[in-house]
């Protein structure tokens, strides 16, 4: 019996040694340890032995069986690990192939700039308002200190609907609408579409502005400068400086043009700033007391500042867009760029 056990054990250990896969090892297990395996048969044969022989033989058989099981187990673990490695190796992908992702949309660059700017002013306590695009002559011009037949009307090429209605030439009529309907303090920014009958390489008959207005008991040119500095630094970079230059708008007095240090060259002078280091971005000023009075706000008690800037211009500077026409062609190769994707 012992010799027989030994012989089967040796055969089993050899088979385990020879097996190279978990599949083969499983077969070895079945052959030797399975229900009708060779070791199991021997176990069943124990009954045929005498009472004296049985314990000794049983013991030997158990040791042999344990030996086989342990060999199987360790070989199986090795094979399993090897097979896993092989499987993982086979599963390797070319990590440089493109990923799968859902289509991502974009907001128009004008919308993005508009929201960027609005956010800056919300932080300074401004509210947002909008107004009608088809506007009365009264609000678009007269309440802004531009009477009929005034030469300042030549500053803007106006689309007329009739003698009394125009397509608003700026967002400024909302200044008058705010002042005629509200009591100070007023702090508001007014984004929107505006229209001028100008269509050439650098003009679009439709473009966008943001108007800003602050009216309170004691508003100064210094407040305007501080507010616009904060805006420019958040919009462009924290090192951006601004410069005020005297100018003229009928509804502000004093009036200024505001330049910022060129975002492209940092003020050293380049093509964008035409070598001056400064880029003009908006017009502004102290609200003309005549406008306050016309709108029913006592100019002796209150003062204010106002500014108006063109969103296209800011977007062109910010994103390096060379031509205003691109905004309105709506070619998807243009629009898709504004989530950072560039099609080549």
């Amino acid at each position: 019996m012992k010799a027989q056990i030994d012989s089967i054990k040796q055969a089993a250990l050899a088979a385990i040694e020879a097996a190279s896969s978990t599949q083969e090892l499983s077969e070895v297990r079945v052959r030797y340890l399975g229900k009708s395996g060779e070791m199991t048969s021997l176990m069943k044969g124990l009954g045929a032995l005498s009472k004296e022989e049985r314990p000794e033989a049983g013991k030997i058989l158990n040791i042999a069986r344990t030996e086989i099981e342990s060999a199987l187990e360790s070989k199986f673990a090795q094979a399993e690990e090897r097979e896993k490695q092989a499987r993982l190796a086979a599963e390797a992908v070319d990590v440089t192939l493109p990923g799968k992702r859902p289509a991502r949309g974009t907001l128009h660059p004008i919308t993005q700039v508009r929201e960027d700017i609005v956010r800056v002013f919300l932080g300074m306590g401004f509210e947002v308002a909008e107004g009608p695009e088809i506007e009365s002559d009264l609000y678009n011009f007269q309440l802004l200190n531009v009477p009929k037949d005034h030469p300042a009307r030549d500053m803007q090429d106006t689309f007329y609907v009739n003698d009394s209605y125009v397509l608003r030439t700026h967002t400024s009529p909302m200044q008058a609408r705010m002042m005629t309907t509200r009591k100070p303090p007023i702090r508001v920014v007014i984004p929107g579409r505006v229209y001028r009958s100008d269509d050439d390489a650098s003009h679009s008959p439709i473009f966008h502005q943001i108007e800003g207005l602050a009216v309170d008991k004691y508003i100064t040119m210094g407040d305007l400068e501080g507010c616009l500095t904060a805006f420019a630094q958040q919009m462009f970079s924290k090192d951006t400086e601004i410069r005020l230059r005297p100018s003229y708008f009928p509804f502000t007095e004093p009036s200024v043009e505001v330049d910022v240090t060129c975002a492209i060259c940092g003020g050293k002078g380049c093509r964008v700033c035409k070598g001056t280091g400064w880029v003009e971005i908006l017009g502004a000023g102290i609200v003309n007391p005549a406008v306050l009075d016309m709108c029913g706000i006592d100019s002796k008690e209150y003062s204010g500042f106002a500014f108006g800037l063109g969103l296209e211009r800011i977007a062109m500077i910010k994103y390096g867009i060379p031509n205003i026409k691109l905004f309105y062609e709506n070619d998807v190769r243009f629009l898709r760029q504004f989530n950072g994707e560039v099609e080549r």
Binding site: F126, I134, P185, M221, P250, N330
Partner: protein, 796 residues
Amino acid sequence: MLAPVSWLKDYVDINVTPEELAARLVAIGFEVEGIEYQAKKASLVKTCRIVSVEKHPAADRLRVAQVDIGGSTIQVVTNVPVEGGELTAVALDGAKLADGTVIKKGALRGVTSEGMLCGAEEIGFSAADIEGQTEGDILRFPEGTPLGIDAAVALGLDDVVLDVSVTANRPDCNSIYKLAKEIAVALGTECREPEIGYETAGADVREAVSVEVKNPALCPRYMAACVRDVKIFPSPVRMRRRLRAVGIRPINNIVDITNYVLIEIGQPMHAFDLRYLSGGKIVVRNAEEGEHIVTLDGKDNTMNSSMLAICDAEKPVAVAGIMGGEFSGIQPDTSTIIFESAKFARDSVRRTSRALNLRSDSSARFEKGIDLASQEYGLRRALTLVYETGSGVIGEGVIDVSAAQAKVRDIEFTTAKIGRILGCTVPKKKLIDILFKLGIPVEEKGGKLVAHVPDARSDIEGVNDIAEEFIRVYGYSHVKPTLFAHSGLTRGGVPEDIAFRNRVKEELAALGLNECITYSFTSPTFAEKLRIPADSPLRNWVELVNPLGEALSVMRTVLTHSMLEVLAYNAAHFNRSAALFEIAKTYHPKSLPLTELPEEREKLVIGMYGADADYFALKGVLEGLFAALHVKAGYSRSALPFLHPGRGADITVNGKMIGCLGEIHPDVAEEYGADVRLYAAELDLDALAPECGGTVQFAEFSKYPPVERDLAVVVAEDIPAGELVKAVESAGAAHLSCAEVFDVYRGAQVGEGMKSVAMNFAFASVERTLTDDEIAAEMALILAALETAFGAKIRA
């Protein structure tokens, strides 16, 4: 305006470079849009003398000239028939001509040529504009011209011309003299006055002509003077050069003098030939309705009674302030002239000029506005120039019909008030000094300051204007930035409608769409293209009176049209697919013609085409949007004529129609030039917004496994699947958590005119696992509901 530096220097010493001068002008409020160096239009074109000329050995039409360029001699091959001895100009090796051509030393038919002989055009001028030069010829210089100097300098064309942009509030600065005054302030120097000085002789002007102003409101001042024994000749070189530098073509001494005064003093002048002033009368009156005048430009104008005319005893001889009549001008045999120097009301000139479509340098000045002092200044300056140039004998006296007096306005202020406007400290002495230099004397009266503002500064109306005058000279660098230093906090914020729109935009971008922006005006043909019925209110639109063209002439009442144009544009520009949206206004007049503001409604349009685009892709976007907005939309087949008859739906929310979606009818797509299928949806956001729910409310979900059941029923072909789902959802199955259609089958098995709709249901309870009996009972309810509503039978 164009301002030659040499002319400015008549009145102010300028010791800085033109660039520095421009920077100083910008700093005080005058933008300089360009600096033109007359002599730098070309480079390395020098004066020279042709020493000797030989025939070219190999070409009959070429000559070989030895050219003295002052100190050295070069050889030039030329086709100009020079003889030798000429004083002319040569472009040297490396010279750059006005048109950009670079001249290089080289060989012409085997003979070395070291330059090119030049005419006026090569250095950027027209021969007709330069004394003694002939078009097509090389430049000719008088004996005594130094050799080797810049040709333009030798011609006296070495001025620097600034292009100064004068803002509408400073009409006075549209003149050399007033601009020089501003420059003097900017440079901290003094400004000289124009020279006035002449002798008079002969009869008083009143003997030659009488002046009557019938409408002093439109003509506050009219001055006239008389010049007899007029000699007509070309004006002096300097005057002609200056006029050319500012873009005015010299004509003769008298016309040039009026133009010179216009530019120098800013006062428009007119010179009448006395022979054509019938009755020796000048009457300034409103034209009679329908009265005709043929103006100098040959145009026949029909005037109306609101227009001001300068008339003689019988007829109009000029449109006031705009242009003279055809016979009123200066003729070669003119012997007596009457100078007009008047002020006409700017809005009247503006209206008349626009109504007659008649413009001139004069009308441009009058429209901007001139002050009451410059009529006399201009007239006397013109007479001085007549005297200096010997153009005639100046009659005694001047006529001055003046209804208005130049007024000095007093403005009372304090430095504290100025400081409160500017937000900086205002040194009193500096303030008074700056204003004085600007021609605004300031007086101290009992602690207050009083500025005496001259008539010419009609733009200065109050303390804010005084503040501006001060700070533009003092410098904005003195204003330090503050953030509402004297104001309290305010509560900012975004109103609901704008926040709603922003949310819709963000959701659509998240759903993969690109936002676009299109023009608000379009062609009236959009209504035909979209087959909008003749009686539709969408055909009531606002029309522009002065559009950029028919194609941009009406304010749109729908957005779909613009979207289809954008889709077609993209399809035609190599883009295989596009999925776009726009949120914009449409414009709906309440009455026409417009007497009140039209209604502006906020609309959303979505458009797509390409391999992944179809009705359901578009609907998926809308479902995504509605889910994000917490609204449930209903869809029913649409009859809109621009949609595909079988692939279009009207959209309702809470029973309210809010828009449509679908495939664009192929015929309509073709109208837009698209060779792909187009899909579009348009929603009324103003109608949708109030239907959108507030905050999300948490709903408990089941911890137990849901039980699913499938059911296929056979119903009539025309029953929409959406209706079946609705019926299921309202069947009373209390634990139904989800019902979806997953298959629709048509075929012989289910019979003609019928279809099988397969649905999947999920049941769940938040309290326990449901039993088979409970689910069977709820399934029975569902089936009963479908049977009752649609005669549905379980598919065998």
